[in-house]
């Protein structure tokens, strides 16, 4: 079945690229790999009958947010991680703390597996319910967004205004204030 194969391919690309994002020393490569991961995720959104989310993922995430990250990395011109001198003396390196952290990580994995097992319709096919043409149309998304979620939508505009003012204020040089 081609769509099952495509799901596994794109899921593997998303997970593999995200792992490599964590593994890179150079943040430039990390950003490029994260863009690949976002592309694979947007393919998964198309499989979930959400083409508008997939396009927003590419345009907003890969197009805007990642370019912002790239811009900052180029602006700061400090590509390599200067970890060596901190790594040896880092508090997380102490054996007791490291053991506690490993225990917390194991707890997180147990919790995630438990939550996944407890979801009742975990084996149900995703596309079983709902009308595909209705779910994937921008018209129905827009209707719900501007009726049921209109307050959250307006609150989001204030959030963006505050973020814009905050970013300009934080990044401005001290003598310009």
């Amino acid at each position: 079945m081609p769509e099952t194969v495509l799901f596994y391919v794109f899921a593997a690309v998303a997970i593999g690229a995200s792992l490599l994002v964590i593994g890179q020393r150079n943040p430039m490569y990390s950003i490029m790999l994260l863009i690949a991961s976002f592309g694979a995720l947007s393919a998964l959104y198309i499989q979930l009958d959400a083409p508008f989310v997939a396009m927003a993922q590419i345009i907003v995430y890969a197009g805007a947010i990642m370019v912002l990250f790239l811009f900052v990395v180029m602006l700061l011109n400090a590509p390599q991680e200067d970890a060596a001198q901190w790594d040896r003396t880092h508090p997380l390196r102490r054996p007791g703390v490291a053991r506690f952290g490993a225990m917390l990580a194991a707890l997180l994995i147990v919790q995630l597996v438990w939550a996944l097992v407890r979801v009742s319709d975990v084996g149900v096919a995703v596309g079983a319910r709902g009308d595909v043409a209705e779910l994937s149309s921008v018209r129905s998304v827009g209707r719900v967004l501007f009726t049921d979620y209109v307050f959250a939508f307006e609150a989001t505009s204030i959030l963006i205004l505050v973020a814009m003012v905050g970013a300009v204020l934080l990044a401005a040089r001290e003598e310009q204030r």
């Binding site: 997970i15 995200s18 907003v60 912002l68 900052v72 991680e81 790594d87 995630l112 079983a128 719900v144």
Partner: protein, 100 residues
């Protein structure tokens, strides 16, 4: 068709990768990227749950998460620029002025 559980497993793995990145990496830019991975993992499970329920609500929550992610990236990167200007470093261990 693919079962809902497979999407949730992908989402959980991506979230775990993002968490590991936040804790293991010592570079502010990479930590912000790991937070983006975690937000995307949550987006994927929102859309998958919404599709499984047959509603568009999951997609709409995803838009709000994307907006918050954009605001977070803008403010976070502005803070990174301001910190780099003071300390000439992106290592979070270099910023200890507020540590007791």
């Amino acid at each position: 068709m693919i079962p809902l559980g497979h999407y949730l497993v992908v989402s959980a793995v991506l979230f775990a990768i993002g968490t590991a990145g936040v804790f293991l990496r010592r570079n502010l830019i990479t930590i912000l990227l790991s937070i983006e991975i975690m937000l995307n993992a949550v987006n994927l499970s929102f859309v998958a749950f919404g599709r499984a329920q047959g509603t568009v609500d999951g997609q709409i929550i995803t838009f709000f998460v994307m907006t918050v992610a954009a605001a977070e990236a803008a403010v976070g990167l502005a803070i990174v620029i301001a910190l780099f200007r003071h300390r000439e470093s992106l290592n979070p261990d270099a910023f200890t002025s507020l540590k007791w």
